[in-house]
């Protein structure tokens, strides 16, 4: 229930513009991998290629391979919709469906796909997912109220519950705490360290302390300047990246000299 991601020489384009250049990385299962780097360095763009959300933007495409346990996500005949059922995603701003209750939000992946499930199984899945997202105790008495009535941190955990209800192999998180207060951020970070027992987790973050706290592996992205593509500069165990990086740019960024 957790898969390894490998990319080799992956290039990402928006129309004619190359946003990310030649990324080769292996992301191990049952671990948290953090992408850090200055704004516009392509880390979010690269993250979105891992579940083919990238191509939702008109004109965007990818060159190269993304292997999920050896199977190429961009191979011929691969259905992006099926990819996304295995690689879940949590976004920067919490985005529960405003027309649905808390319960319906958790079941959204099932219901929106027109899949049938006995009611008992549904209730079971709702409880399991909400417990998995550490939200159950807070909302168990108001499952039928709108999801948009929750606080920002609760909404984000609801979105995590919604993602894990699909039982994905990988969970991608695109700056999941940037819109949250410190308490909610802590709750999400605690949740991540629990979830990594089950999932391959990839997180994009602007917050270096967060990367240091939650991740096992850190990857540093950078750009030479505006208009040039983002590159993966260095990847390694988080301890090493934060104490003794191999590349000077990484050290400059870590120590706050730019970015």
């Amino acid at each position: 229930m957790s898969k390894r991601i490998e990319t080799t020489d992956l290039n990402v384009y928006y129309g004619n513009f190359r946003a990310v250049e030649d990324v080769t990385i292996t992301i191990e299962p049952r671990s948290v991998t953090a992408f850090i780097g200055p704004s516009g360095c392509g880390k979010s763009t690269f993250l979105r290629t891992l579940n083919r959300m990238h191509e939702v933007i008109p004109g965007a495409y990818v060159e190269g391979e993304v292997l999920l346990d050896g199977e190429n996500l961009y191979g011929p005949g691969v259905d992006p919709v099926r990819v996304r059922r295995q690689v879940g995603m949590v976004f920067q701003r919490p985005n529960p469906f405003p027309t649905m209750s808390i319960k319906e939000n958790v079941l959204a992946g099932i219901r929106l796909n027109n899949r049938r499930m006995p009611k008992a199984d549904q209730d079971d899945l709702v409880e399991r997912s909400l417990r998995g997202a550490n939200l159950w105790e807070e909302v168990k008495n108001r499952l039928d109220l709108p999801g948009s009535g929750l606080s920002g941190g609760q909404q984000q955990r609801l979105c995590i519950a919604r993602a894990i209800a699909m039982e994905p192999q990988v969970l991608l998180m695109d700056e999941p705490c940037s819109a949250l207060d410190p308490i909610s951020t802590l709750a999400i970070e605690d949740l991540m360290s629990e979830l990594k027992e089950q999932y391959t987790i990839v997180i994009v973050t602007h917050n270096m302390q967060q990367a240091a706290r939650v991740s096992d592996v850190t990857a540093f992205f950078n750009i030479a300047g505006t208009g040039s593509p983002g590159k993966l500069i260095e990847v390694g165990p988080t301890d090493k990246i934060f104490s003794a990086p191999d590349v000077q740019a990484t050290e400059d960024y870590i120590s706050g000299r730019f970015g």
């Binding site: 579940n51 959300m53 939702v56 008109p58 919709v81 099926r82 990819v83 996304r84 059922r85 295995q86 879940g88 995603m89 976004f91 701003r93 985005n95 529960p96 469906f97 405003p98 027309t99 959204a108 992946g109 219901r111 929106l112 796909n113 027109n114 709108p146 948009s148 979105c159 919604r162 993602a163 699909m166």
Partner: protein, 352 residues
């Protein structure tokens, strides 16, 4: 260039006393009324009001210019003109509402809504055939326009973003918005003539004509609303492995539903009062017709026109019915407008 002299400047300047406006207003009204009688020999209210307003402008101009200076005078002139324009626009609205109410209510009665004009010459009779005709014709037009309009809006907002076909559609929807209503009627007439033989008039032809007018309205309002649905919700659904079409049907449309319904209601309100296309395509009749596809069908706007334009010997009876029809029509349009706005406001989901 000499230096600017500040010595004489103070923060207070000459100001007209507060009573100036009401006093000169009353004076102008009285004088205007007197002048109007002098000019026309009778008491013509329109002329009196116009003259009074011109006098008021003149008095205020002179008073402000003398006391407060030319800049203040031009400011006050602009204010008076702008307020005057607003009052002027209220005059026809007020007169129209008053006339429709006072002349429409006498025949706004039970027979009006229970009888047709079959075998009625002179007083009596009613517009039930026209009311039903309007319901049939507009209902059919809605059935035609909403699927086409909504699906087109979905294409424009979700599928064909900035491609050539969607640009062409947007352009021609704009063109369609400008089609004169009578031309839509001619089109429906010509189309039905081709399908069912020349000279045929039916409720369905009327529905086609109204659809030509209604589709662009539905497309425009729906497209705006779909674009208001935050992209984050679409992405959330995609990330759950939901195909695009299910995302649209189950996430985007439900989020926008109140606005869409309100847009459709406002579109209905816009075409339900159309007369010219129905006059041409649906024709008129004095009798009830429950078949959309055969024989002319009366509608409320055409009923009003027909009662006005072709009165029998008892002119007043026909004109009374015309006013009652006009009152009914205005009420329907107002109710639809109100309902549309309420739905849009009341049921809008909170997207943050």
């Amino acid at each position: 260039m000499a230096t600017i002299v500040h010595a004489a400047e103070t923060l207070t300047a000459g100001r007209l006393p507060r009573a100036t406006v009401p006093v000169s207003l009353v004076g102008s009204v009285l004088l205007g009324y007197a002048l109007a009688i002098l000019f026309t020999g009778g008491a013509n209210i329109g002329l009196a009001v116009a003259l009074a307003y011109l006098l008021f402008l003149l008095v205020m101009e002179i008073a402000t210019r003398v006391v407060e200076g030319p800049r203040q005078a031009s400011d006050r002139r602009a204010t008076n003109l702008v307020v005057g324009a607003f009052v002027l626009a209220l005059l026809p609205l007020g007169s129209l509402v008053w006339e429709v109410l006072s002349k429409g209510i006498p025949r706004f009665d039970v027979p009006f809504f229970s009888q047709s004009m079959r075998n009625v010459v002179g007083a009596g009779g009613g517009a039930i055939h026209a009311v039903w005709g309007t319901v049939y014709v507009t209902g059919m037009a809605t059935l035609i326009s909403v699927p086409i309009g909504l699906l087109t809006a979905i294409y424009l907002a979700e599928y064909g973003v900035r491609n050539r076909l969607s640009k062409a559609i947007t352009f021609f929807v704009d063109v369609m918005t400008g089609v004169p209503s009578i031309v839509a009627g001619l089109f429906a007439y010509a189309l039905m003539g081709l399908l069912l033989g020349p000279g045929s008039r039916s409720g369905f032809a009327g529905s086609i004509a109204l659809s030509v007018l209604m589709i662009p309205v539905v497309v425009r309002s729906s497209e705006e609303l779909l674009k208001l649905v935050p992209n984050e919700l679409r992405e959330a659904a995609y990330a759950l492995g939901v195909p695009k079409w299910l995302t649209i049907v189950k996430v985007v449309l439900p989020t926008a539903v109140s606005g869409l319904v309100s847009g459709v209601i406002l579109a209905i309100a816009r075409v339900i009062g159309e007369t010219a296309p129905l006059l041409i395509a649906a024709g008129f009749t004095a009798s009830m017709n429950n078949n959309l596809f055969e024989n002319p069908m009366m509608t409320l706007p055409v009923f009003v026109y027909d009662s006005y334009a072709h009165p029998g010997t008892d002119v007043q009876a026909y004109w009374d019915r015309a006013w009652a029809g006009a009152l009914t029509l205005i009420l329907i349009v107002m109710i639809l407008n109100l309902a549309g706005r309420l739905i849009a406001r009341r049921f809008a989901p909170k997207t943050r």
